[in-house]
């Protein structure tokens, strides 16, 4: 089993959701996060409109899902295709992190492993 965590643009969330369901990944959740990557945060007014500062607070959405091993490549491809900006791909389109998961438990039934996903 594979955990996929993807940092994506908040405005691409609905397209990513559709793409995930289309490849059969029916369970995932989103976290709204802030941080910085190559975009280096956002410039904001700090006080009464006189001065600005750059804050490491670029709004992003973190997608988290766990899938069966054989779905890994299909899900990654679905995210890449749906999260990428239309037109020219741009800095800030996001990043995907993949890691192994040792076990999964379905709370309702106590099922374990891939059948619990």
């Amino acid at each position: 089993m594979i955990k996929i965590e993807a940092v994506i643009r908040p405005e691409r969330v609905s397209q990513v959701s559709v793409a995930l369901q289309d490849v059969g990944c029916g369970g995932f959740h989103y976290l709204n996060v802030t941080g910085q990557g190559q975009q280096h945060g956002v410039e904001v007014f700090t006080g009464r409109g006189g001065r600005t500062a750059t804050r490491a607070a670029m709004p992003k959405t973190l997608l988290v899902t766990v899938v069966k091993d054989d779905m890994k490549e299909a899900v990654i491809e679905a995210i890449v295709n749906s999260a990428r900006s239309e037109g020219e791909p741009a800095i800030g389109d996001g990043k995907i992190f993949i890691s192994p998961v040792s076990d999964v438990v379905r709370v309702r039934t106590g099922e374990r492993g891939e059948s619990a996903i």
Binding site: V44, F45, T46, G47, R48, G49, G50, R51, T52, A53, R55
Partner: protein, 402 residues
């Protein structure tokens, strides 16, 4: 009695009351999310505590005959004021209207010490400050026995009594309480700031036009110059922020509106619309510069109370003398050739600055020494946020982990 004036003054009094919750939102939006309830409460509690103080002895000390410097105790608990007393409008209505000014003035000061001032000590401070600073200055300027009134100092709606008074007291408070440990970089809720400024602007029509204490042409004149000054200063501030950084700050426009309203306050019964335009523009520029300068000093006047209310009040008081039109308020200003009007304006400004600074410092110095009081919350309470540590409530609560 004039029923039209009574109707307008009842309305104006309610409008001025609404300025205080407006101020609560204006200030509440500017602080960090963990100090919103605390910041709003500093203002909101003034609506109850200052009303009680005003009823018991505040009005009497401000508007009792007394001496040139302070009233007396003849109206304590509003004794001796019958419901039929008064000319034009009932005295009781004047008491109510003036009571609204006594609410918002100490609330203005709180912008200097938000995010760190101990709430219980603030309650004591509020009572002492109204008694020892607000009531005397109010008496000097607005009672016919007052020495500034006698000298001919012009303050239609409270540029000295309310704004310079609160602005310099804010400096004293910021000095005594010290800097915040970790000030936030951004206002936590810009819509709150704009909503608050909108309510202030709306309520200010009662503040200034109500200071005619009648439903007459002077009230109409005060109404229009109030709007002109607020609009001009807001636009000025917004344009400065746009020229400085390429974008127009909403907080900047809101702050500019307040600066314009402050500056027109003393002038609102004396100047015409073009004078108001000039006052709004000059206040917008000078208050903006003051914010920049004071932010570079070590003084943590957190929400720029002095830069907006102190400087705005001083600019307004002096420009009242410059732009006064005899046909409007009965006094000619510098431009109409009456240079003599400037002397009392300058003296009024200096006297208010000096008296309020010294007495506010003294009150805070003593409160800091009293066991069980003290000015500042503990470091952990400050880090946790005053909403939880002082009030046990949070501004924004969602289900789940939050």
């Amino acid at each position: 009695m004039d029923s039209g004036s009574i109707a307008w003054m009842l309305t104006a009094s309610a409008l001025v009351l609404l300025m205080t919750p407006g101020l609560a939102f204006f200030y509440g939006g500017l602080v960090r999310a963990k100090n919103v309830v605390s910041t709003i409460m500093y203002s909101f509690i003034a609506m109850s505590l200052a009303t009680v103080v005003w009823l018991l002895w505040g009005y009497s000390l401000a508007f009792g005959s007394g001496s040139a410097f302070i009233g007396d105790l003849s109206f304590i608990g509003l004794q001796g004021i019958g419901i039929e007393d008064g000319e034009g409008v009932p005295t009781l209505l004047f008491v109510a209207f003036q009571g609204m000014f006594a609410i918002i003035t100490p609330a203005l000061i709180t912008g200097a010490f938000v995010e760190r001032f101990k709430f219980t000590t603030y309650l004591v401070f509020l009572v002492l400050w109204l008694t020892l600073v607000y009531a005397p200055v109010c008496h000097w300027v607005w009672h016919e026995n007052g020495w500034l009134w006698d000298m001919g100092a012009l303050d239609f709606a409270g540029g000295t009594v309310v704004h310079i008074n609160a602005g310099i007291a804010a400096v004293a408070a910021a000095m005594m309480v010290g800097k915040r440990r970790n000030p936030g970089m951004e206002p936590h809720n810009v819509p709150y700031v704009v909503l608050g400024a909108g309510l202030l602007w709306f309520g200010w029509f009662g503040f200034n036009a109500g200071s005619a204490v009648a439903a007459d042409t002077l009230a109409v004149s005060a109404f229009i110059v109030t709007n002109v000054a607020a609009a001009t200063a807001a636009l000025t501030w917004g344009l400065i922020s746009h020229f400085r950084s390429g974008r127009m700050s909403a907080v900047g426009v809101a702050t500019g509106a307040v600066a314009g309203l402050v500056a027109i306050t003393p002038a609102s019964g004396f100047v015409g619309p073009m004078g108001a335009l000039a006052i709004g523009f000059i206040a917008g520029v000078l208050c903006f510069i003051s914010v920049e300068i004071i932010n570079r000093t070590g003084l943590d006047d957190a929400l720029d109370v002095f830069a907006v209310h102190g400087v705005g009040g001083i600019v307004g008081a002096l420009l009242t003398g410059v732009f006064a039109v005899e046909a409007i308020g009965g006094t000619a200003g510098l431009i109409e050739g009456n240079g003599a009007v400037m002397g009392p304006q300058i003296i009024g400004v200096l006297a208010t600055l000096g008296y309020s600074l010294v007495v506010t410092l003294a009150i805070l110095f003593i409160l800091d020494k009293i066991p069980g009081l003290g000015l500042r919350v503990g470091e952990r309470d400050e880090d946790e946020g005053l909403d939880i540590s002082a009030h046990g409530e949070r501004a924004h609560v969602r289900d789940g982990a939050d």
